[in-house]
Symmetry: D2
Subunit: 308 residues, 4 copies
């Protein structure tokens, strides 16, 4: 299979549809992005990267960072993570608070906002916010094997100033005793990890350990055990796209995690790590063209985990 031809075809086929969907506007900084951009990068487990379109342009990875924060938290707290957050699809939108009231402050999974805030609280673990942010940034540079990865302070500040819903979620969980640090500290870290800026190429490198039994083939370093890599993939598949997770599994058939910045990370276990980016979002908040591109890719490659 000529992967370069596949990615070129996809970018060419989607050219007429550039600009589809609606750019996220609830964070002022994100609303300014040019919607007619599209990037795609595939890095296979042998370390080769195939790119097309704006694959080297940095964008705000937003919720995709939840995968990496979970990886960090599992490294620190192991399976005890699951005492404070569930592993089930939520059946509701990314920022719903209803479920938290019904289930006593325990978020359904680590990939909705409430869950990621709890995960952030675990990563914080007694450190100063600045230190936790630094640790996360170092981790991301390590797994992407790229020291140019940075946090966009403007985006972080923009989220801080408008993130009332996240303040509500955090305070609500604090009221149930499921946050251990002051809300401002936990959210300070949370808003920064969301604000990571990466390109498709960098992101496809960063996710490679999930496709390769927990080890990054670019560096040879083990990030997690094979079992943990499988489990993170399982969570991405069942919970990675909020209330559109079932649909993504149905159409694409790969573990994936989307962000409102328009990026999606998808994993083809044993084969490749895929990053796609296009700012316009569909109704459930996932990149419109990104989703289409991944469905095309899955069809062309036969990489669906559900059969060829």
């Amino acid at each position: 299979m000529d992967l370069q031809a596949v990615v070129d075809d996809i970018v060419r086929d989607l050219q007429p549809r550039l600009g589809e969907g609606k750019v996220a506007d609830y964070i002022p900084e994100l609303a300014r992005v040019d919607p007619k951009q599209f990037g795609l990068a595939i890095t296979t487990v042998d370390g080769t990267t195939y790119t097309a379109g704006d694959a080297d342009t940095s964008f705000s990875i937003q919720s995709i960072s939840k995968v990496f924060m979970l990886t960090l938290a599992l490294g620190k707290a192991g399976e005890s993570v699951w005492k404070r957050v569930g592993r089930e699809p939520s059946g509701s939108s990314f920022n719903s608070i209803v479920q938290l009231e019904h289930e006593h402050g325990i978020p359904r999974n680590p990939f909705i906002n409430a869950g990621a805030i709890v995960i952030t609280d675990m990563v914080l673990a007694g450190h100063k916010p600045r230190e936790a942010i630094g640790e996360f940034l170092r981790f991301m540079r390590f797994i992407a094997d790229d020291d140019s990865v940075t946090i966009d302070e403007k985006v972080a500040r923009s989220e801080q100033e408008t993130g009332f819903r996240n303040f509500a979620l955090a305070n609500f969980m604090r009221g149930f005793g499921n946050l251990q640090h002051p809300v401002e500290h936990t959210l300070g870290v949370y808003f920064h990890q969301c604000a990571l800026a990466m390109s498709c190429v960098q992101l496809s490198h960063a996710g490679l350990y999930l496709a390769n039994r927990g080890t990054n083939p670019l560096t040879g370093f083990s990030v997690v055990s094979p079992k943990r890599a499988r489990r993170i993939n399982a969570l991405m598949l069942t919970c990675g796209h909020y209330d559109g997770s079932g649909d993504f599994a149905y159409h694409v058939g790969l573990p994936g995690k989307s962000g409102v910045g328009g990026g999606i990370l998808a994993i083809a276990p044993g084969k490749a790590s895929i990053a796609v980016w296009s700012p316009g979002l569909n109704k459930v908040g996932n990149s419109a063209l990104g989703s289409v591109a991944l469905e095309m890719l899955a069809t062309r490659t036969g990489w669906s985990v559900f059969g060829t």
Copy 2:
């Protein structure tokens, strides 16, 4: 890999735990089953079947039939099925009615009771209940390649007499216009398809088309297209275990569908169809030892769809 050794090991290892969990008691007929039974059957895509324990004992497949009814409905109505039922995990229990009120009578997915009732209504499609039941039974015998598969009338009657919640769900959806036949007709078929009695061996044969690109290798007959087989597998993975679907994906990593009779059908795409049965259920209503057995099997075989 010596699969026979694997299944033998699993049955031997679980011997001391026989009787764990709680037999379903809400249907009187099911409550009478001896809880200390355990069966396992694996049929690989080359047509070989490996068995251990009570693999030839018939049990009530209950909700596992929802997979086959969906297959039938997709055959009749194609993708228009999704106008009347969703494809997302529900985030609630198998018989919840709350979601139906919030979402105007459209069930979240075909594998919760409400969704399966709508699917049954599609299969009924203007026929008499008796005809639809007959069609379903013929289909099951065809895909199991075994004419001895039958419906347990006692179980069907038992469900009919005590299934108030299902009558509530059906009437509720009828009120929203999402059932097209009299409630008694649709539920008559529904209770019968739930009451199918099969052994692990039969069930592993019946599910084989999902592991083998839509075609049953035992008979050579195509049941669905490869694409549809993938999609049904995706639905099983995200929605197959009610509010324990995320957990099953995390621990086992295979598309699966459980029933309150204690059976679970799991699919290893490209590799095998697996049926396990043990009547005791865990807290979320899935076979306790069956879930454990499948986790052991996935670990031993490396068949998880999320990586080796």
Copy 3:
């Protein structure tokens, strides 16, 4: 105060607005009513009746009958009634099922459909449906002091054929063990008591015991104790208008019960029983002009229970 002048003024003032609101269309029989009708009848505790408009025209009292069924059930079961139904406003629409799932089949109050179905089940109490319907009809004739009160069989049948939501509620509660008779029996009685046809004059007579310490001054017969009369009035005020109860208390300030037929019964304790009727309904399902008329009446008479 010249009450006849008051009622004449109200009817005259509302003349230009006749036809406002929307006639209930979910029961076919009700949808056929001429919307430009309006009747008002006040019977004071000294037994005088003041009327204006279509005060002698029969209409379907619908949910207003819930007050009388509750009276009957309290007579049979006393305060033990409250083991199977609550006394709190529901905060949701008249036919919501969500609350029932969250609160294990116990309806919030006797004036939402679910609650009235449970109350009907208590009135049924081992009798045949036909007998219970007969008992209710005799009771209504007794308290209205008028043997011409009847049940409109066409309306009863119309509800029976289209009342899927009520079948859902009843089956749901039966599943929780909160109905003691077959669903068809309980609902058979329920649909008939809803279908009572009365005029404003008859209805104002029937409600008079609630305004007069439990005793009907027209006949001298005691219907309930003074304490029970107060308590039924309290329930009407907090729960009598579904999710518009707070609004009705705010604007009118009298215990009241509305029906989708466009009737409202209101009680001025110690002073009068008031019946108003106009078929057009407002957004929360209460008679649009009926509500306005009662607000005008309360203002003119100073009868609000909340002060002059």
Copy 4:
């Protein structure tokens, strides 16, 4: 009727039950109160005050202040208040956030926490928090005709430090645009108005305008119009006791507002303002003995608004 004898009897009859219920412990400062206290004060519309027990002991009026804040907000914004808060019973607990998500940040009524926070935001109306607190304190001294009424700073601070749920509610509503000031400002005022310390005597004086057509007979000053007094009473009756409002209306039959400090203010329109206090709370969070005392009082006096 000898009211002094009535209040003496009630205090004597309840003597053996002192200490019943459970003192609120979620605010540390409140948890320290001696539970064996009980006070009762009735001030009739002719200005006479009848007292018994600890009627002169100050306690934290907590949510009872919501009645007075609403009075202030109506004075400033008139009926436009109802654009930002509803008038219906909530059907859920005092600090539930579920309803807010379902109804887009508009609280159900001004007597649940979320509603009172919005009302506070209206009273704040562009002023500095300190000024708004001062205005509220002056208003309370004015209507109680007593300059010794104060705010307990310790309680205010205690709530500020532990009120995570209120921070969640406020941020949530801010996210919907239903708060116009910084969350810290609005909640700063909110926590202070809750922390008002008053005795039963003072509280019965402060509420007197609601019993006397809007005018305080002690001072002769008009606080609100007769119509507005009726309407506030209506809201107290339907919404004044959270999810126990229906029960309170059923048993007591008077408009009332409770606080977790163990106080209850009840209004007998045209007759008297009643304040009762006993720290132990019942299951729904209202003073256990206070509720009993008011039921005894209503029975003895025949003051129920629902009939004698």
